[in-house]
Symmetry: C2
Subunit: 329 residues, 2 copies
């Protein structure tokens, strides 16, 4: 099997590539070739015995997708995107990458199939940003698309394209709406959502972290490990069972900031919790108030997608996968 | 006020132009200029004392939108579309007109506004084709987008673009999802939905009509006169009251084919009803089974959109507007 990951230099893309490389299989089939693509050259995962092809380019350029697809990958993971904040600041760039880039990829597959039969599995990562307030406390599988950012609108459009191209038989598409990934490894960044990870990751390494919102704030999370599990399961699932409605809310974990902090206390003790400094930021509070808090992801659960069981588990996954099992600075 | 109608050669576009021309006003303001555009040159409405500009062109060409918008219309009605059946047969053409054409128009307005402040009202006609079965008996205002045609996907994408461009302040957008227009004037056509109009229009003129489905089939209708009323109201409404969710299910009339026929009997008598010939067509029956039957258009009603009160009224409107008040062949 030949697997293509677009957006392979990102955090989730890198972990997905490592997962496929270490298992050397996907959907019960051996993976002989892994093509990793991003705007910067992705790193080849260690220990993979098959062929690895590293590519870089701009998916806003249709020729880039045509070239990528000419290698006829059996499974395509499309994770590339301009993130929310940047898509909001640079309207043209967000639409060029998140809408046009996605459509070019889908059209490249369609055109490749006009030369000779070709119908790859396409896994598209969407986002809970397709939903904007007001919404019910728990968002159900049939709630309408109400993005309040250009990023959310672009992802919602990608979902509609995915479903239509799949319905027409151009490829086997499936879209998954990822919860916010927590704990994101790396350094604190300026993303409005950064604090959800910062307040756990930094104390776990003996560093201070800033909490800009109230402990009552509730949000929808997934560990990086489970996010990779969602992607793999989406590549393996029987699409007959999914039907024409090809985009699913993934099973996240709904937790308040207070619950996150108590989980940190259980896993890492009071000393870690004491490193969280409260510094209320009304602007961040207002942004976060417009984000989904909880879902009822009944379809995804019935289709076998598995989320995190508890925030303790989310924290332990970070300690295992990022800190070599060691807590403290 | 300068009003631009794109798709002005179509049935609804033509009636909208006539309505604006005869009243010579919109949103309480005098209309001095009417630009009518379509792929073929639209007909200028009779009796309008202002300036009428007739244009024709292909809205898949970005230069066409740029030129249209350079005239800085205050209100833009965007009704142009490749219809459902054709968009399903010609994938590229459907996306070129219904998606790219819409986006070019929206971008032309955005770019015009970068030269000097410009923020027109944009009324976008969407369709109940954004919904595909299965759905509840009555579709609510928060039901998710589930198109089962490329046309429906393209309209849903247009809706998302409209909402995002409006949120960013590029124009004052509002989208309305029209029910099936009934009674469509003209000759019987091969559209799968044609019979809903045929079984009324033809007998009202003393002609036979074919009914291919069971009388229990339920559907969602609007008269041409009320459809024009929706468009005018959308151009006039206070968008503060609409908020960020800019696309509304219009208040149609839900009726079974049997109820349509009984209304025909009340308005035109048994002799008219006797002209309906039952010729079951399982293929049409199957297509129609996937279409919305009924809605709960609470938001549109609260915002002052007014639909038809009864099928008797829908038939009387046809007799008044198309037959000069005269029933029979």
């Amino acid at each position: 099997m030949h697997v293509l990951i677009i957006g392979a230099a990102g955090m989730v893309g890198r972990k997905l590539a490592e997962s496929i490389a270490s298992g050397e299989s996907l959907a019960g089939q051996p993976v002989e070739k892994l093509t990793l693509m991003d705007v910067i050259p992705p790193t080849a995962p260690a220990g993979f015995t098959g062929e690895v092809v590293i590519k870089s380019g701009d998916i806003a350029d249709p020729a880039v997708s045509t070239e990528l697809v000419s290698g006829r990958p059996d499974t395509v993971f499309h994770l590339a995107a301009i993130v929310s904040g940047e898509a909001e600041l640079d309207f043209d760039k967000g639409y060029a990458i998140n809408l046009d880039g996605t459509r070019h990829l889908f059209d490249a597959i369609r055109h490749e199939g006009q030369n000779a039969p070709y119908k790859p599995r396409v896994v598209f990562t969407s986002s809970i940003a397709v939903f904007g307030a007001p919404f019910p406390d728990k968002i159900g599988d049939e709630f309408f698309l109400t993005p309040r950012t250009s990023y959310g609108a672009q992802k919602a459009i990608g979902e509609l394209l995915l479903a239509d191209y799949s319905r027409k038989g151009f490829f086997e598409g499936i879209g998954i709406r990822l919860p916010t990934v927590c704990i994101r490894p790396g350094k604190p960044n300026k993303a409005a959502s950064g604090f959800f990870s910062n307040i756990l990751r930094e104390p776990l390494s003996g560093q201070e972290a800033v909490l800009p919102v109230d402990e009552s704030v509730r949000h929808w999370h997934v560990s990086p490990r489970r996010a990779v599990g969602f992607l793999r399961h989406a590549a393996e699932i029987d699409l007959e069972a999914v039907g024409l409605r090809r985009v699913l809310n993934m099973p996240g974990l709904s937790a308040t900031v207070g619950e996150q902090i108590e989980a940190l206390r259980r896993v890492a003790g009071d000393r870690a919790v004491a490193l969280i400094r409260r510094e209320p930021d009304p602007m961040i509070g207002e942004i976060v108030a417009g984000w989904p808090r909880d879902f009822d992801p009944a379809r995804a659960l019935a289709l076998g997608f598995v989320g995190d069981a508890s925030f303790d588990e989310i924290i332990r996954i970070h300690v295992e996968d990022e800190l070599g099992g060691r807590i403290g600075g």
